[in-house]
């Protein structure tokens, strides 16, 4: 992140306060860190059992943007801390996400820089590596911002929130949505588009055509219960809204307006 140009001012690890990592000072608590530095975002890599505490600590310190990379946090804990953050004005991205990148400007996450180039496509995704894959395929056009919102069933910032932001973002011309089975975020995006609340062109891809029901496919959120959020339901919602759906990640490129 530092190499990419992100100004990483401090690290926090209880008991390691006072040390330096790659020249960056480490503090015992977030409170200690914000006394010394101006901080507008935090990224959390803490193991699942302790990750919730780290989120509460960051929210209490008044940090407005918190990216949670950690995977395997219990769903109910995520439900609690996302609400806590919301009521106190902090935005959470994730958990179980690779973070976000504004190509050639800033990286807040673990996305590999080689896949990205400054451009006009906004990409929002529930996946990690699949996001890198698609981004690299669209490298000729470049990206304005790429965000992995996370593969958990409950997440801090939803797909429809990001699509709305892309729609209002002057740097973004077209939007790529990478979804997967489970939940109803993709259906919400389709609804917003068909109601005219999203003006920009959207291209979608959904993973999970071959996934059996009630089986978690790697991501805690990639599971269909009670017939909600099936592959077909998402594809049909997009089609109805006039959003072209790529059959494979490699078809996305052909469905964008400008080549």
């Amino acid at each position: 992140m530092k190499e990419y140009g992100t100004r990483v001012v401090a690290g926090v690890s209880p008991g390691k306060g006072g040390s330096l990592v790659s020249g960056i000072p480490v503090y015992d608590t977030v409170q200690d860190a914000i006394k010394e530095h101006e901080v507008d975002a935090s990224i959390i890599f803490v193991p699942a059992k302790f990750a919730s505490d780290a989120v509460y600590e960051a929210v209490d310190a008044g940090i407005k943007l918190i990216v949670v990379v950690t995977e395997h946090i219990p769903v109910i804990d995520v439900a609690k801390f996302t609400r806590y953050a919301l009521t106190r004005g902090s935005r959470i991205i994730g958990p179980n996400c690779p973070g976000l990148i504004v190509p050639e400007e800033s990286l807040l996450g673990i996305l590999p820089p080689r896949a990205f180039k400054k451009g006009k496509i906004g990409i929002v995704s529930r996946s990690g590596t699949l996001t890198y894959e698609v981004s690299e395929l669209l490298k000729d056009r470049g990206q304005s911002t790429v965000i992995g919102i996370g593969g958990d069933p409950i997440i801090g910032t939803k797909m429809q929130d990001i699509v709305k932001m892309f729609d209002e973002d002057p740097q973004t011309e077209e939007i790529v949505v990478i979804g997967e089975i489970g939940g109803t975020m993709e259906e919400e995006v389709a609804k917003m588009k068909s109601e005219g609340r999203i003006k920009k062109h959207i291209v979608a891809y959904i993973a999970g055509l071959t996934a059996p029901k009630e089986k978690r496919m790697g991501h805690a959120g990639a599971v269909v219960y009670m017939g909600m959020g099936t592959f077909d339901s998402k594809i049909n919602a997009f089609r109805k809204a006039g959003i072209p759906v790529a059959k494979t990640p490699y078809e996305i490129k052909d469905l964008l307006l400008k080549v």
Partner: protein, 335 residues
């Protein structure tokens, strides 16, 4: 983790949801008179397959089901009832709160029910009298408090993704849960060690899901792995599994994964799709190569990202096919 019916009912009894009298068995039981014998399987649709039977001769029925390969049974009293209703609580993904789902049409697949009511019950306050009254009125049944509070507790305290009763029988001695479906949140199993010990289950990974086809699939990242499966299907093949090696997998992890897929007798060919970010391609190649000699099945590797050139060189040396784009890899697998 999906629980067996009898395991779910064990939790039901702990949280105060009424269940029929019954015993779990693998063989002969002492039972007087009529009973329901229910095969304990994780798949649904047991009724249609003749694996739930009302019988006067319990041991004969068990014997018959044993012959068709079933190992575990729940033998229960026959509960006379007037109606069957549906009720479940699950974590609602859009609101981030537990959601109660109920229907007066119990006993059928809830996806097909036309009359359904959902009710969000926020964690901050939990189920209250007016929630219970609302549901009772809708279902035209009294005495649902213990069932609603019990299901709620299973979601909020036992960390279930889903706690379902279908059907819930309405009898003159109150409501009774005839079936159970409980799916625990895998991420939270670490805080329910005692329960797991009691039911004799272990934490399991969701990184591997077995399917019916013959092409073994390994990828890194759930989305990319699913997309790989889907492409195999779209191009005319059938995936044998879903296996995500996870983020930052080292050679040991990759080796273990290739052996797991390779040792599945249904698998004829293996397709590996890796986009290395925090995962290093040289580690991946090393893992594949060390499993290759044991597996003895054709392996096709799509490998790009961090340290890709080292990885390619290593694969080339031992003659494993590698690719930079997924479409050619899938194409060759299916040829």
């Amino acid at each position: 983790m999906k629980l067996y019916e009898y395991e779910g009912k064990l939790i039901f009894s702990k949280v105060g949801i009424p269940i029929p009298k019954g015993i779990v068995t693998e063989g002969r039981v002492v039972w007087n008179g009529k009973a329901v014998v229910k095969a304990q399987l994780l798949e649904g649709g047991r009724g249609k397959r003749g694996l739930v039977k009302v019988t006067d001769d319990v041991n004969k029925t068990i014997e018959e089901m044993r012959n068709s390969g079933i190992g575990k049974f729940l033998v229960e009293e026959v509960v006379e009832h007037t109606r069957e209703i549906y009720m479940s609580i699950m974590m609602d993904r859009s609101s981030g709160e537990p959601m109660l789902v109920s229907s007066p049409q119990g006993g059928i697949n809830v996806e097909e029910a036309s009359d359904i009511k959902t009710l969000i019950i926020p964690i901050e306050r939990g189920p209250r009298g007016y929630d219970i009254f609302t549901v009772e009125k809708y279902l035209r049944v009294k005495g649902l408090e213990s069932v609603i509070k019990g299901l709620y507790k299973i979601v909020t305290e036992y960390d279930a993704d889903l706690a379902e009763i279908n059907p819930l029988a309405v009898t003159d001695r109150g409501v009774i849960a005839l079936d159970s479906k409980v799916i625990l949140d895998d991420n939270a199993l670490f805080r329910h060690e005692e329960l797991l010990k009691e039911i004799g289950r272990k934490e399991e990974s969701d990184n591997y899901v077995e399917l019916d086809g013959d092409i073994g699939i390994i990828g890194n990242g759930a989305g990319l792995t699913m997309a790989t499966m889907d492409m195999v299907k779209l191009m005319g093949g059938m995936p044998a599994d879903f296996l995500d090696v996870g983020g930052g997998a080292d050679k040991e992890r990759v080796k273990e994964c290739v052996l797991k897929v390779g040792n599945n007798p249904k698998v004829k060919k293996i397709l590996i799709n890796i986009y290395g970010g925090i995962t290093r391609c040289d580690q991946v190649a090393e893992g594949i190569i060390s499993a290759y000699t044991d597996v003895k099945k054709p392996i096709f590797v799509r490998l790009v990202g961090t340290n890709e050139e080292e990885g390619w060189k290593m694969l080339e040396k031992v003659g494993i096919k590698f690719y930079q784009d997924v479409e050619s890899a899938v194409g060759d697998v299916l040829r």
